[in-house]
Symmetry: C2
Subunit: 341 residues, 2 copies
DNA sequence: GGCCGAGGTGAGAGCGCTCTCCGGCCTGCG
DNA sequence: CGCAGGCCGGAGAGCGCTCTCACCTCGGCC
């Protein structure tokens, strides 16, 4: 079996069109400064030969790769249990595709992988990186910054050492939480409990902050730290009911937790929302809409977050030295009312 | 702000180690045929300079990229609603990482993207592709095969035109379904209903086949086509109960569907498993374990599937012309008993 | 009608690497 | 002690592209 003829090169196209390599290159890259008849001739040659530029050769000289790394650190296996990352990936993918960039996915599995990722990024295989780092003590962001690759973070990185020059995109976790708690308060609820997420994640911490801002001085009996999972939330909910049987509302840090809370409330014979009103966070449709009763929750547009992250990074790569704006972009949340509150 | 000094090249390392480029190259690529003292000297130079090979330059000559594309077609938005792909990705990522390959993620959004993906693959940017194509009429697999890139499919592709040379990895959907239905039959259930998945997906079709194999002649009243979602399964379950109020078991094509069925059964006052036994498929922990009652289901090792896909592809790429074995690898499933049956 | 300038096109030098030779040295054998 | 053969290491030719520069050909202007 003969090897299929190797792909045509610029040279071949040039020969066929009767022009020089340089001209073909110009046409392929936009065709500025080439006269129409020639452009046409080259286009046809490209078409006929089925020419596709060799990206490796191109990168070698341009030092551009048109590729972006997406780094998802996964301290817990949890990560993939909720569709959060999947949705962000979709947003990122759409935006990158629209700008002819490729998405290189780097999944890390514990600390051992950090060095690998850092090396890869430092190796200049990609033009930039989109990094999800949601934990306060995560060393990865630091390593990545050290690698000197333009980076945009997903979610506010929780630096222990104060401010650094970072660009990040996040939801308005604090504002969303405030809105949720205000809704409950507006419903006349006075003993509003909060099931938090893991507080070493900035999103969970910020939601707790929002809760506290509205509650004023908080009754420690009403707050239980949990882990964003239904199971964890069930334990938390039981504890809350034991501590404070007369609570009349629960703000859960995400929808998964809310669903766990709902289950325990039902099991304990509390009616929702009559006896206890419940609000979640995220608006994960399969969970929020299917729960019983359907969940009132704070929606964040996750896919849009992904898209914006990509857009920010791409823009940064464009205007090289220009305005290296730093800081965060915080996306608004919206309250979605269903039956649970 | 001065640009940071560009990364060191082979040349620089060679100079520092006092050897030729060729020798450095040999050391970097395994060091065969270079004497120990030289190897050591080169290693040190690499270390000191922080040298990382330029992948583009390397690819240019080797025609290898050490990169694999993962193509996930997404006809429906559904795709990311369940953790299925995420888990497979994890398996793939682990295996690729272990062999120093990168994962390029290609998400397609409707038919328009097909050409883009085909062009990309044909462009020789990656050494191979892992493709998830679960629909009977999907043109994508055909396009990809046309591109001449070594490919392994996730899930049995449903060709309308009979057999082609494909390599795929799939779960034993049919066998798993048989096992599920046999369990129900063994429990003395005689009117066993089946809520299918979308039958244009081979997995759903295979599960239905398995069900039929055990049931013998099937009562059409007992089978309703659905869509792998809780909502769809609710509608299907209602219809089943209306048609056949005395059914005593339900085999749902996946766990999400089973959870929907459970909800309707509860709403209609049927006890599970006393009145109606329920079995799902997938063993998605958050769903299966958290449902009420916990779900008896057919487990497939999704992450392992991903790993095997990657392994198969990598092996294929290795032994170039050698045994181009074709056909499918079908992974076994196991029945997990919980409370629902 | 000649000169200058602008706009198009081509020639050629690399980008950083791999890999094939080829030559030098060292070993072993006659 | 001389020569064949094997190993090691270096030189150099590209891989396919981009980009600078020089050249050429016009048109416009004096």
């Amino acid at each position: 079996m003969t090897e299929t003829a190797s792909r045509p090169t610029l040279e071949a196209v040039a020969a066929r069109a009767g022009v020089s390599r340089a001209t073909v290159s110009r046409v392929v890259n936009g065709g500025d400064g080439v006269r129409e008849p020639l452009v046409e001739r080259v286009r046809r040659a490209v078409e006929e030969l089925g020419y596709v530029p060799n990206q490796a050769a191109r990168s070698l000289v341009t030092k551009r790769h048109d590729a972006i790394a997406v780094v998802i650190a996964e301290p817990e296996t949890r990560v993939f249990a909720d569709p959060f990352f999947a949705l962000q990936l979709r947003g990122i993918s759409k935006e990158l595709t629209a700008h002819d960039n490729q998405l290189v996915l780097l999944l890390t599995e514990g600390r051992d992988d950090h060095a690998r990722v850092a090396r890869y990024l430092a190796g200049g295989h990609v033009d930039g990186a989109l990094v999800f780092s949601l934990h306060l003590d995560d060393p990865l962001p630091g390593l990545i910054q050290g690698a000197g690759v333009p980076t945009v973070f997903g979610g506010r990185p929780g630096w222990s050492d104060g401010t650094r020059d970072v660009v990040y995109v996040d939801s308005d976790n604090r504002g969303g939480a405030r809105e949720a708690v205000r809704l409950l308060a507006g419903l006349g609820r006075t003993r509003i409990a909060h099931i938090t997420g893991p507080l070493d994640q900035t999103s969970a911490a910020d939601r707790l902050d929002g809760y506290r801002e509205v509650m004023g001085v908080d009754d420690p009996r009403l707050v239980v730290e949990s882990d964003f999972t239904p199971g964890g939330a069930e334990r938390a909910m039981r504890e809350l009911l034991d501590r404070c049987p007369d609570l009349d509302a629960v703000f859960a840090a995400n929808d998964l937790a809310a669903s766990g809370a709902l289950r325990v409330l039902r099991e304990r014979g509390r009616r929702v929302p009559e006896d206890v009103a419940v609000v979640g966070f995220d608006d994960l449709l399969p969970v929020a809409e299917q729960s019983d009763p359907p969940l009132t929750t704070v929606r964040q547009d996750i896919e849009e977050m992904g898209r914006i992250m990509a857009r920010l990074l791409l823009r940064r790569l464009d205007r090289r030295v220009a305005e290296e704006a730093t800081g965060g972009v915080v996306l608004p949340t919206t309250l979605v009312r269903r039956a649970s509150a």
